[in-house]
Amino acid sequence: MENYIIEMLNITKEFPGIIANDNITLRLKKGEIHALLGENGAGKSTLMSVLFGLYQPEKGEIKKNGKVVKINNPNDANDLGIGMVHQHFKLIDIFTVLENIILGVEPNKLGFLQKKQAREKVLKLSKQYGLEVNPDALIEKISVGMQQRVEILKMLYRENDILIFDEPTAVLTPQEIDELMEIMREFAREGKSILFITHKLNEIMAVADRCTVLRKGKYIGDVAIKDTTKEELSRMMVGRDVNFKVHKKTMELGDVVLLVENITVSSKIHKNNAVKNVSFNVRAGEIVCLAGIDGNGQTELVAALTGLENISNGSIILGGKNITKANIRTRSMSGISHIPEDRHKYGLVLDYSLEKNLVLQRYWQPEFQTFGFIKTKAVRSYADRLIKQYDVRSGQGPITPVRSMSGGNQQKAILAREIDKEHELIIAVQPTRGLDVGAIEYIHKQLVSRRDAGKAVLLVSLELEEVMNLSDRILVMYEGEIVGELDAKATTVQELGLYMSGAKRGTTKENENAG
């Protein structure tokens, strides 16, 4: 019998209408990095919430060092030495780093804070693990990577020795990811045990010792990383073979479809401009990707291109036509199809049926209305065609409320609508966010097929793998500027990371010898 520090045995957790965890077993050894792999909705977060005391399981038990324990709330978990870095950080923006670290366990004398000893402890920990932070900086002023360090220090300050990381790399640059991996290894060497939740196979292969795979709420297996491969893990996660490579044929570049010159967009959040004097073009038959860490002006740039936001300077030319001042509908009719970043907020009217959503960009065209009356039959047969052609699955076909559909099928519906509409340019913003591998594969294929059909594609993505796989040309945005233009074939993830973090600027040719 091996020495397990935490055992979650036969955990079953139900929610009305769904069994989120169905008889799941997870065993964590002391001093190991254990990955928890699964697609969205596989039950990873539920399982961790059970361990952290946020949910009570219907069945099963949790053991620490072989003894059954009852975890009723996060305080119990903390007492057992379990700490968690949540995917969305639980920090108070207007407090300092130090204040956030001691939050909930403030050292005090008769109710007066004793910050001095806390500061010493934090500085000692930060030195010991190379987690450099300024204890007096405000959270809102520091970078996301820095915020994550604060979360890690929070666990260390509480002397947790079982550390849960929930999708910790989603917000980091490749360099920051490497640093995090090193820190995790350091923790493991010290005898701390780490649970690492992710759906990124490369990271698991790089850092984990063992991996537990979940699929649709069920336990699939527990494997040692040294005995497995990326392909096998993905097969366990998805239940079938997955094709990672996207096949693209070589294309002759066509005319310039979108020409953006010196545009500037002011920010709604801060006083600076969100997009600063940006120029670029997208040509027919290519996929141009706007890469960058979230919040570097990509959202605002797309809003400016599609007309959702006004620009304060510059010009936008689509197929030779100046659309700088045109409204959203004119732009849409001139050939822009837009797959929005937030499909629930912008892409769909969730309370409308599927068929009504499929005509959202076209309901006013003569094909679908006469004298202001909607042609119900025309809408229905159009919807039927799109549903069939793009394999949009739903409970009741065209009359299904979109709210009840799965994320992947909602995205397929948007994709169908935007691709079927007349277009010269597709702007796809994080089109695969939150989707499972199967849906991602499908959406990638469709975008490539648009490119192969001689359309222009502007892809905005935060996923490096997606950027590298799909694009012909990569533009990197950093703090509202385009800091690099790279040839997708000639660059590496590492180089891309340097641009994304602002450490490097210029085009591939200029920096031939660097990176």
Binding site: G17, G217, G239, T306, T330, S332, Y346, V349, D351
Partner: protein
């Protein structure tokens, strides 16, 4: 989501289907609200006067049937203000200004009734149209503020309730042809300005109830069959998606508020132009600086009718029915205020209607899915490993 629960029982399937149908759930919600409201209403009557509570409550429930003409007569204005609130609500606008629009509509109708000399056959029609214009005007202004300056329509339309009411009172008091200062009310309207009666004895019920129901049906068609209704509801559900789809939200906001105002204005006109049961008289207005209650009742009517024009027809008739029954219940010594309390309770519960509906649905779902999930065999742990 549901693919994990093996749906074996047929009853559950049926329940699920019924629970999913939107119209049904809105209907049950309204019925539940009414039922609970009635129970509480009865308890209040019981506390107020235990001896007569049963007979009084019986009268409250069925008294309306004895005055069927009056039920429809009093339903007309609140049906119109209900439409004014409900229609705007479909776009996500809370038109609390139905009272002001109602008052303006009434004033415009009165003005044309007194001051314009027109042939008998078209005089009342002109009065109705004038009322509509008055209401439109009072809907247009908050609409413009909302569309172009993003001023919250709740604030502007509340202010416009007061502005409209004081303005109308002032204008009426300053007009010798319209106002009899010794009686502190308006003079009797000429017969040509009054609406054709439906001929039910001892009742003022008139053609306007038919017009109102027709308008409700038209609004229903507009909402469900036209591109304008499509845009309007899309904006109400999700204004970001409607902007993304390039809908002209400024135009739609103004148009919606104008239509809502027109409905409330017509309500005011219908109320004041109704024929009197006493020959030679007419309905009158007393400028006493009170905001028209019919406007606020419209909010209740719209809520109970789930903002659906068809639902609003029924909820207006129902509230009117209870009100008539309440008047008759006073024969058993109940004060009209008690009836107001009962109606208030019903409205109060209708605000909870949606909540109760979803709770009940969840309860049913939970019970059944729990029973079924037990039957699911344990997962095969070796799968894929």
């Amino acid at each position: 989501m549901q693919d994990k629960t093996v749906s074996s029982s047929k009853a559950f399937d049926n329940l699920k289907k019924v629970g999913k149908s939107k119209g049904f759930s809105a209907f049950t919600a309204a019925l539940l609200a009414i039922l609970l409201g009635l129970i509480f209403g009865y308890l209040i009557m019981r506390i107020a006067s235990p001896a007569n509570s049963f007979l009084g409550f019986q009268m409250l429930l069925i008294g309306g049937f004895k005055r069927i003409g009056d039920v429809f007569y009093f339903a007309t204005p609140i049906l119109m203000t209900g439409l004014a609130v409900g229609f705007a609500f479909k776009m996500g606008l809370f038109n609390i200004g139905a009272s002001g629009q109602y008052t303006m509509g009434m004033f415009f109708a009165l003005y044309v009734g007194f001051m314009w000399k027109l042939p008998d056959s078209i005089h009342w029609i002109a009065c109705i149209l004038a009322g509509m214009v008055g209401g439109m005007l009072w809907g247009l202004i908050p609409g413009i503020f909302k569309a172009f300056l993003n001023v919250n329509e709740v604030i502007t339309s509340i202010m416009f309730n007061y502005i409209g009411m004081y303005l109308v009172d002032m204008l009426i008091q300053g007009n010798a042809a319209m106002y009899i200062s010794s009686k502190t009310r308006t003079a009797y309207l000429p017969a040509s300005a009054q609406l054709p009666t439906l001929g039910i004895p001892h009742s003022s019920v008139n053609i306007s109830i038919i017009l109102s129901i027709t308008l409700a049906l038209i609004l229903f068609i507009v909402l469900n069959k036209t591109t304008f209704g499509y845009e309007l509801k899309a904006t109400g559900f999700n204004k970001f998606a409607s902007a993304y789809a390039g809908m002209n939200d400024k135009r739609n906001i103004i148009l919606t508020m104008v239509i809502a105002g027109a409905m409330a204005g017509l309500g005011g006109a219908f109320a004041i132009l109704a024929p009197s049961t006493i020959a030679g008289s007419s309905m009158t207005y007393e400028p006493v600086s009170v905001i028209a209650a019919n406007g606020f009742n419209g909010i209740a009517v719209a809520l109970l009718g789930n903002s659906n024009p068809i639902g609003i027809i029924f909820s207006a008739v129902f509230i009117s029915h209870i009100q008539r029954g309440g008047t008759l219940a006073s024969l058993y010594g109940y004060k009209p205020e008690i009836i107001d309390v009962v109606i208030a309770v019903i409205i109060y519960f209708s605000a909870f209607a949606m909540l109760m509906n979803s709770t009940v649905a969840n309860l049913i779902k939970k019970r059944y899915s729990k029973k079924q999930s037990v039957k699911i065999p344990p997962a095969d742990q070796k799968e894929g490993a």
